[in-house]
């Protein structure tokens, strides 16, 4: 049996059109997943930052506009999406610490263990935020 793929010799070269390869999980190491996580959260958080700034413009419209907006986003769906943003920020920040440390030669040979430790810490913080956001 023969599989036909749409690739030719040109396509085995590096090319900007292969940006999807950044997010291709096939055959990745733990640290490769960390790279994907950092890049996905970076793009997501940058998008959210500007969305957040635009939405906060509501504050200038005084109490009526803002408080009715808050009532709208207090539904579980919005709280869940807010938790995703919070989780993204925590994951990006803690993995960022690992990248900074390795850049200065700290824990380079132990970067995988450091990643696991930071991700456990991230998970604990995310769970605390999650419980608090959905209860009390």
């Amino acid at each position: 049996m023969i599989w036909r793929l749409k690739v030719d010799t040109q396509h085995n070269r590096p090319s900007p059109s292969k940006f999807w390869n950044w997010f291709n999980p096939v055959g990745r190491q733990t640290s490769g997943w960390a790279f994907m996580l950092q890049r996905v959260t970076a793009l997501g958080l940058t998008f959210y930052l500007f969305l957040h700034l635009i939405i906060l413009g509501q504050l200038a419209n005084g109490p009526q506009g803002y408080d009715s907006f808050i009532a709208l986003v207090s539904s579980p769906v919005f709280i869940a999406s807010e938790l995703i943003v919070v989780a993204g920020a925590i994951l990006h920040g803690l993995n960022g610490i690992r990248i900074i440390l390795t850049t200065f030669g700290v824990s380079v040979t132990r970067q995988k263990q450091l990643f696991y430790a930071l991700m456990v810490l991230a998970l604990i913080i995310i769970v605390i935020f999650g419980i608090h956001m959905f209860t009390a």
Binding site: M1, I2, W3, R4, L5, K6, V7, D8, T9, Q10, N12, R13, P14, S15, P16, K18, F19, N21, W22, N24, V26, G27, R28, Q29, S31, G32, A34, F35, Q38, R39, R98, I99, T102, T103, F104, G105, V108, T109, Q111, K112
Partner: protein
Amino acid sequence: MSEKWNIILKVLRQKQGETSHFDEYKMDADPDEYVLDVVERVWAFKDRTVCFRHACHHSTCGACGMRVNDAEKLTCITYIREVTRDGGTLKVEPLRNFPVVSDLVVDMGSLYRRLEAVGARSVLPAPEAEIEKPPSRWSSDDEQYIRLADCIECGLCISACPAAATSSDYLGPAVLAGAQANGLKLNPELLNMVDSEDGVWRCHSAFECTAVCPSFVDPARRIMDLRTQIFKERVGGLFRKA
């Protein structure tokens, strides 16, 4: 007595300008032989048109790097047992991020030219070589001994690197590792070359290079060391000027 496994070898076939496809070969294989041996048997007994590179068969020449079941491997030292099972398949593809010449053969010219450009050395004086258990103190006599550099220029790291997939100008892990072995101190040209968007800052810490390196070069560690060296030179340079 050797074991016998039945495996299906899928080889990505692609001649110049053609669309690629997988050819399948049913093979008998000893789980303790190497992937390269099986590929070679396809060429010897089944299909003379299969192109692949190999020379030394003992991980010194760096010619036989391929993607085996989606992971970069030096096929002459990769046991069948490590990558498949009895009745399993073995998918063999050319390295990524290098243009395909024919089937499993890629053009690694860019790697060799860049290694030369950073002055990567193929042999080092013994005291400069990084070995597992260095003597507590090198005698002046030891300077006369040289040791082959660890890098065998197989290109696995460049194939595995996610950042190398999008920018053809990225120097790449092996080249940066070669630069690191030379050191940046008193080497301003090399400093400018690696302190650039195509140098160490293209690296985004995926550490895939180190995972696939068959030769203990640990390119990621060397890239991180280069970054530390760059900061020392640049930030330290400010104070030296002042």
